[in-house]
Symmetry: C2
Subunit: 236 residues, 2 copies
DNA sequence: CGCGCATGAGTAGCATGTTACCTGTCGGGC
DNA sequence: GCCCGACAGGTAACATGCTACTCATGCGCG
């Protein structure tokens, strides 16, 4: 049964999906009671899930008032992608410096899966292989805490705009950005891997920001600049 | 009153202290009931605190068995300090590149407080200013998520060994490591700031690892090497 | 007609009851 | 003496009861 896992985990997942899908409108106020009814569980697991969501900043708890859904503000997206830059760019360098046949094989595999998904215009499969590719690169650092934290960062901005505007054009563009990353890693070129990953993340972040702001090119430019101002890591 | 804040937050803080102080022996098994008695609250806030601690990895929950206190393994310390390196080193670079009179003033202030604390051998005050100094450097990135996450990383390894073996010699050594960082930042020398911060973090991590392993020089050397293998960020 | 205050609905937080389940233990069969 | 299975204690997870608090509504008073 679905009840095999913990209810609070189930609710956590459902809640996050609901927020990202826009079912729970951004800025709206809800209560533990309502959400418990919605998911047909008692208030306890809902409360636990909400507390954990509050830790990640996706909602805020207003005492005796309710649960406020925190919309993806431009600033929040900047914060998330800044951290991803700080963590994933060095990870790419590290991957390039610690190659193994197995790693190359895996990366190529995910890249192939992404290509397939693009052809089929299967955004779901696309994001799964995208996810796996990033995860595998991070895994070369053999730091479970790092992997899990980046996972949580990805969850915050997951899909969001990109999934809703599933133009195959966008899918293709984002997908292509991964090739330079993998190629640089396979070549053992750490600086190139870092640069490629940085480009990819800045592009993705800018895309999200542009979609958020209504697509104004000015805001997109600002975002790109803000992200690029970071002291980007590179192998010394 | 102390009841002004949420009980679950209070319990979370107390639990973390108890674990770090060694009151709750590493590897030992406890139950929500016991802990609720210990803190004289009901099981609910204890459970919430335990769940949040489990998210950070300080404890693991064994269903129908109890709460296992996860001791600070060498690997966990490595993970934490790797992430701190990835985040705080670029932050130092950024601080050097975005100087302000106010920032310099603050950093000097914390440095002075640390010196005082060393003279008085007041490890508590020392760690407070240490904390504030790191926090201020990170704050230059104006990324609240980053600041909070590093805070949680610090909490995990907080003091631990260092506090227990409060040799003024150790205090002095650690304190002195901050001066090159601040000097490089004040000089606007980003690479130097990055290098100094990296040295500081590697030293601190190695110190913790050495104390953990019983002080064997071999393990300390391994730790230092493992941490130094990271692709350290530097301004490009 | 406008303003303040009582009031009631609704809420988070905390306490406590309930359930299913894991595990160590003890006693009987061999 | 040794193994195995029923049993009981203890537990996390979940459900529900309770309390203090917030705030919008509307009614009465000026």
């Amino acid at each position: 049964m679905t009840d095999a896992v913990k209810l609070s985990d189930f609710v956590l997942k459902e809640l996050r999906s609901a927020i990202l899908n826009g079912e729970l409108e951004e800025g709206s106020l809800h209560s533990i009671y309502q959400l418990a009814d919605r998911f047909e569980v008692s208030r306890t697991p809902v409360r636990e899930a909400v507390l954990r969501l509050a830790d990640t900043g996706m909602v805020t708890i207003e005492k005796n008032r309710g649960i406020r859904v925190q919309g993806q503000s431009a600033d929040e997206i900047r914060r998330v992608f800044e951290m991803r830059l700080l963590l994933e760019v060095p990870a790419s360098s590290h991957a390039a410096l610690h190659l193994s046949d197995q790693l190359v094989e895996k990366l190529d595999g995910y890249l192939a899966l992404m290509s397939e998904a693009i052809v089929r215009n299967d955004s779901d499969a696309f994001f799964r292989s995208d996810y796996a590719l990033h995860d595998r690169i991070l895994a070369t650092l053999e730091n479970s805490r790092l992997n899990e934290y980046v996972r949580s960062l990805r969850d915050i901005t997951q899909n969001m705009g990109v999934l809703t505007t599933q133009h195959s054009r966008t899918l293709r563009a984002v997908g292509l950005e991964h090739e330079p990353v993998v190629n640089a890693i396979k070549a053992g070129d750490a600086p190139a891997a870092a640069a490629a990953m940085a480009d990819h993340l800045v592009e993705t972040g800018s895309l999200l920001l542009a979609q958020l702001g209504g697509g104004g090119p000015a805001s997109s430019g600002w975002a790109s600049n803000a992200l690029r101002q970071l002291p980007l890591p590179t192998q010394r």
